[in-house]
Symmetry: C2
Subunit: 430 residues, 2 copies
């Protein structure tokens, strides 16, 4: 008999099929037994009807517990009353394993308990919805860049030098030298952008930050486009298009998951281009008016990002940051060289920064001077300096954090649910 | 004026456009100057014609060197004689930078020299072709799994325990404990497969092997599908479909790149399903007949893989390996418990293993026993053992190495050219 997945059930109306899966729930009603079976692609109601109380399938039914693994055979019936419009009238059940004392029951559990059992928690409905949306977001991002002629260029995780400071790096021995886990593929992207014009990298990045906030993971995925000959305004435009495309694709393809999460999508649907764009100077003023203690020259922390996020309905772009709070490679503003042509995009609804990027320094002398100023080891950056020697051009790019984007789109309180196995401060199990 | 990419040039016939790029080559012929300009998406011939030897654009032309960065404006003309059928008659040239002494000239360079200049070598035609094929292969793989209902589940790089032995691990401090860079997402895939039925992970993996062969990188990308309720034969079938799909997509979409690489695609086009499938026992016999010194019980090394690869026109599947040369989680054969239900797929034309996988142990007691036998720290595997407590089912999966696949499809001698910034023994720069 044909083994099918529950997501295909509508194609098999009135046919006999086999379903392989796990018991999600069960109940009895008179002479009928109902088993809710999940197979990872959906949940279907399997039914056993008999006039006889000692029907062999009733006996098997009695043994079933939550998450027991079973193989069922039966006929697919359309039934308006069934949870997804179809049910399976079974005449055969093979029990592979009766699960004993499955730790996650329908009752409420604490988050630390669920995180300890993350490998099992993944089986629950809400986690399913979040991770399905995550997969869709990733696919929509890749399709977006592939469709616009960007070439995927995987950048290395193991790097000999630090991109954004050394205090938050994971270090490892690389045979006879030290290596660090990448915090960003950007520097390498700049090399591939000079070769291919428009590129993106998309992989895991690492920050050994002693941060225990709802927005920080030690290991997180980031997509980073980089465009030769692009200026600040061009990549703001690109970032807006990317975000709008993510929203559009998720709303189009994940209505079911959004419903499970009870996500009101109106605030997302109302987002329009162009996003409000303010300079750091004005952002600081705005924040002070709203009661923040921020001083000009301070970097935004989570509270400032949240506050800014709440002022606007749209995501908001902040540009022209003080150079001293940003990385060495950022292009200074011609008129105000104490500022750099960077941009942070802060998501709406109280979610923080999801994009950071800007224009890169392309003048050889200026870059050499900055490397000195920031006390970076020049020999590790020789190849990066080369990019300014051999046909340097203005160029820009950004990084979008996947987990923060998923948290925002799903309206989750914490990023820890946006990746199958989150790496948190001190927490690396399971 | 509109800035366009060379790949779009055919849409702008007889229109004025702007091209931003780098000088690839130049030459003069009487009253015409030719500049081959690359912008990362293609190469176009720009022409300047004048009766006057002191034409201002001629003076600029004289300054141009290889890899100088320029912005050109002019009219797009169809011209059968031009390299790609179009040329640009320019009336404006802005020189951004004259590149001095670009290290990679059209003459031959040694591979160590080119590897030292990998950030610039990426600009050359052949490297372009390889990395464009790489991007297409990755896209074809993702589309293949997405199209078959597999859910992308990113597995962690930072792991508390080793999947395939501890001798070849990169280690790092994770706050108050040790962590290791993943060698495979498989164990985590097994958890997500129990939650979602059909999953795949796709990310960088790491092996600190002191191997200096043409098939080894310290950091390489791997795609790993895992399927609940699947047996050995099911995932061999899946692997065959995956490989055939990669070949089909690359031949369909990358003819230009394959031509640049002078890849004869006939051997790829002739590959059919099912691949020849032999047991380890028979593989050893075959190898011995061909003069190999292999003994039953030895693992295949590169020479054995190459030899096997040359016996068949198709890729070949080898199954039923001695348990003692394989990982602890492999399902023993019912009839011959000293063998495991693993499969290696060995690419054709002398290329080695590109797929390794098999059926996983799903019996709780057997897994517990194996963990003991292999001296693995049980506490690190508690979550993995849980998968056998709560609704265990037979399941199978495999990993396909991207760089080896790219090397095979492109028919390259060495995997180091299949990724933008390869990590080789002792080599982490640039």
């Amino acid at each position: 008999m044909k083994w099918i997945y529950i997501e295909e059930i509508a194609n098999y109306k009135d046919q006999d099929v086999e379903i392989r899966g796990w018991v999600y729930n069960k109940r009895s009603s008179g002479k009928v037994r109902f088993i809710l079976v999940r197979d990872g692609t959906g949940i279907i109601q399997a039914t056993i009807s008999s006039e006889k109380n000692d029907h062999p399938l009733f006996k098997k039914f009695d043994l079933l517990t939550q998450e027991s693994s079973i193989i069922l055979r039966g006929r697919v019936r359309e039934d308006k009353r069934a949870p997804n419009g179809y049910e399976l009238n079974i005449d055969h059940m093979e029990i592979i394993q009766i699960a004993k004392d499955y730790p996650i029951t329908p009752k409420e559990h604490s988050t630390p308990f669920l995180m300890e059992h993350r490998h099992l928690w993944l089986r629950s409905k809400k986690q399913h919805a979040v991770l399905q949306i995550r997969a869709e977001i990733i696919k929509s991002i890749r399709d977006f860049f592939d469709g616009r002629g960007f070439l995927l260029m995987d950048t290395p995780v193991l790097t000999p030098s630090a991109c954004e400071g050394t205090t938050t790096l994971f270090e490892t021995k690389y045979f006879d030298q030290n290596a660090y886990l990448t915090q960003s593929g950007q520097l390498y992207n700049e090399a591939t952008a000079m070769a291919f014009g428009k590129v993106y990298c998309f992989g895991p990045t690492f920050r050994a930050e002693k941060s225990k906030t709802r927005r920080h993971l030690m290991e997180f995925w980031m997509v980073e486009p980089e465009v030769a000959f692009a200026y600040l305004k061009d990549i703001i435009d690109l970032g807006e298009d990317l975000i709008l495309n993510i929203i559009e694709q998720v709303i189009k393809n994940n209505q079911k998951q959004l419903d499970i999460l009870e996500r009101d999508t109106k605030p997302l649907e109302n987002i329009k281009k162009p996003f409000p764009c303010i300079r750091y100077d004005d952002a600081v003023k705005l924040l002070k008016e709203k009661g923040s203690k921020i001083q000009w020259g301070d970097d935004f922390g989570s509270p400032e990002e949240t506050l800014l996020s709440q002022i606007f309905d749209n995501p908001v772009c902040v540009t022209h940051f003080p150079a001293k709070i940003k990385a060495f490679y950022m292009q200074p503003d011609d008129e105000r060289p104490d500022l750099v042509l960077g941009v942070d995009v802060i998501a709406s609804e109280g979610y923080g920064e999801i994009i950071g990027g800007g224009q890169r320094i392309y003048d050889l002398k200026l870059l050499e001077q900055k490397i000195k100023e920031y006390n970076l080891p020049r020999e590790a950056y020789e190849w990066y300096i080369d990019l300014r020697k051999y046909g340097t051009v203005p160029h820009s790019g950004f990084g979008l954090g996947i987990e923060r984007t998923v948290a925002w789109i799903c309206k989750l309180k914490h990023v820890r649910e946006t990746i199958p196995f989150p790496r948190l401060l001190y927490k690396i199990y399971p």
